[in-house]
Symmetry: C3
Subunit: 274 residues, 3 copies
């Protein structure tokens, strides 16, 4: 992608405020450090704005949503907007409950997101909350495949046009788009779905990459998606060699992220412009 993209992260060490779920929060903190950033988690509404002010990017992840933290998310997001910091939304489980869906709608209404990253099902809920609900053909897709890739790309571009955010729809093939340009990423390995938190962790990597490369949000997001997938591939290769299992996959994935640089990504990235 862009030269020096990861080097910029490692030089700047962006501080990322994450209001995130308690299931994967430790992995999120560790991958943020591994990829070159520095994490702070603060979800009380008495300090959410202040902490976002100190940081270079804010992540909002609704994975274990509760009434107490929704206001904190709004406050942190608005403050980051006011300061021009990237704000990344991870709409975990959007569509699975009324609380989550309505919270995503409220977030879309009150905060301007720089990037929104989710799976196809979550992103359809985001779409439903982002304006008039005229049908898009990706609406029927449950997963991105070579067969429906074109329609997922069109869906992502339209969702970007509606929200003003770069859209990252992750799955077997990942699609990253703004309103006019898109990339398909074919890194990753199916075994990554057997550990929790790969999505949440990726969202934090996206935040770090965007914070350090604010002029290239689409490229930074694409690079983050590709880097995460590449780490999964390399970790899976180790698991096979060691005849190990999912806990080893997770540890090696973070290990590789801590060693990732522009040259390593350049050698391993499987990115196609669409």
């Amino acid at each position: 992608m862009t030269p020096f993209l990861i080097q910029n992260v490692r030089k700047q060490v962006p501080l990322v405020h994450a209001i995130t779920n308690y299931v994967t929060v430790n992995d999120c903190a560790n991958i943020t450090l591994a990829c070159g950033g520095s994490p702070i988690m603060a979800d009380d509404k008495q300090e959410a704005e202040e902490i976002s002010s100190l940081c270079n990017a804010t992540v909002i992840n609704i994975g274990t949503l509760n009434s107490r933290t929704i206001d904190s998310m709004i406050l942190a997001g608005k403050r980051a907007n006011a300061l021009g910091h990237p704000v990344i939304l991870d709409p975990v489980g959007a569509g699975a409950s009324k609380l989550r869906t309505e919270t995503v709608f409220r977030l879309l209404d009150e905060v301007k997101f720089t990037v929104i990253r989710g799976n196809i099902s979550e992103m359809k809920t985001v779409y439903a909350g982002s304006g008039t609900t005229k049908g898009v053909d990706a609406d029927e897709a449950d997963a991105t495949t070579e067969d429906n890739l074109d329609s997922v790309v069109r869906f992502a571009k339209e969702l970007s046009a509606r929200t003003g955010a770069v859209i990252a729809i992750t799955g077997a093939i990942d699609v990253i788009a703004d309103s006019t340009r898109a990339f398909a990423v074919r890194n990753g390995h199916p075994m990554m779905s057997k550990i929790t938190g790969t999505g949440c962790m990726l969202t934090c990597v996206v935040a770090c990459y965007c914070a350090a490369n604010p002029e290239h949000v689409l490229e930074a997001t694409t690079a983050a998606v590709s880097a995460m997938g590449l780490c999964g591939e390399l970790a899976h290769r180790d698991v096979e060699k060691l005849d190990a299992g999912t806990a080893t996959l997770r540890a090696h994935l973070i290990d590789y992220m801590s060693k990732m640089d522009d040259a390593m990504l350049s050698r391993g990235e499987k990115i196609e412009s669409r």
Copy 2:
């Protein structure tokens, strides 16, 4: 135990809603994935029922109990009862505080549990909350040994008769019972007590195994207990070989669970009918 028991889990990929403590929640999510299920954690009372409805089993673990989540536990448990889904109770620390003990009593009063899993001390508190408190001879036992195994088995059967739940009392020897039948499991290794979360993780494995084998709850629970112990044994063998420590034990335990199948369990299980 029952043929195809684990194969059923891996085929059906049961969705498990866990309202659980924040200490071991990441391990719980990862072992659920490793053993063949898929986890969702949602503890806000605005969505607890809806999420349980989507799932195939519900786990209630009181490990870091707080006032906010007790109502969510009741709501999720009742909804799972109404839908006929297995509901598993992990009464972590029951007896250690008034809040925990009273919450267990309230849960026993309002929710019908399919399986209750805890250590002998926690299970005595459950017993006290499950009806008239006539003494049982296991009441004096602090740990299950070959010497008091008979009395622990009788205690477990009586507790099952009182609660209608399959009872799993884990310890050096594990006892799993319904009101008429019981198994003793001698898998496991003492080093497992040197990592946090083995009990919480086991409860999630029990939920997956029961959800995929609803006609064989006693056998499914026994298989889960045996599988967890076997993973601990194999992990401990690796730790010895590598001269490693407790973090390696934990990672390898999850690794082995991700590779567990019926043949592997059949070779390693140490299950005795009592």
Copy 3:
């Protein structure tokens, strides 16, 4: 340091109540077990006092502070004070927000701490909350170096005199002091800052070491700081050998802590009396 210090921990298995942040809580529980203690986490104000009463030490860590748990911290701390148990403060992020700073001030006002452990920036905030704010020369220091070590030692001694607590200021060089004596510890490796939770984990190890060696709080705290650093050094050596990354560092660090004994610490400690 003191002979049998770690042996005392492993013999007594101190029970530690930690009201701590949800980012690193699992690591805190696992390191507590690894170093020879046993952890309980309970942050609801209905049970905080009762749980502290059952325990041998109480840890208060403000890492993901929220309004609900501040009262629990005060209650647990006061109860532990009343019982004469060690109470350890980890003022994570003190100074980063008004909520954190004010909470630290309130804690210092209402609870008597046995040990306070933080980085230099956090400890300056603690200093500001501990009495009249006459300047100290460490006030300008952002990190402890050989050049400013003397002034950091003086600062630590004065802070100890003000608070009555043993002070542990961790960084590239660690300084541990009471009002009259101090130690500098040069164990550790910079890569430890690339994983989350090394500070939080250390605070739990301090609690275990102090609970089992109540007559030697300064020595016990110094030994804990040195042991943690040594584990980091050994883990880093493995990472280099394996060409691994930060997740391996974290696992091996906990592995080494689970194997730590007085002889191993004695061989590896880099402790200087100041």
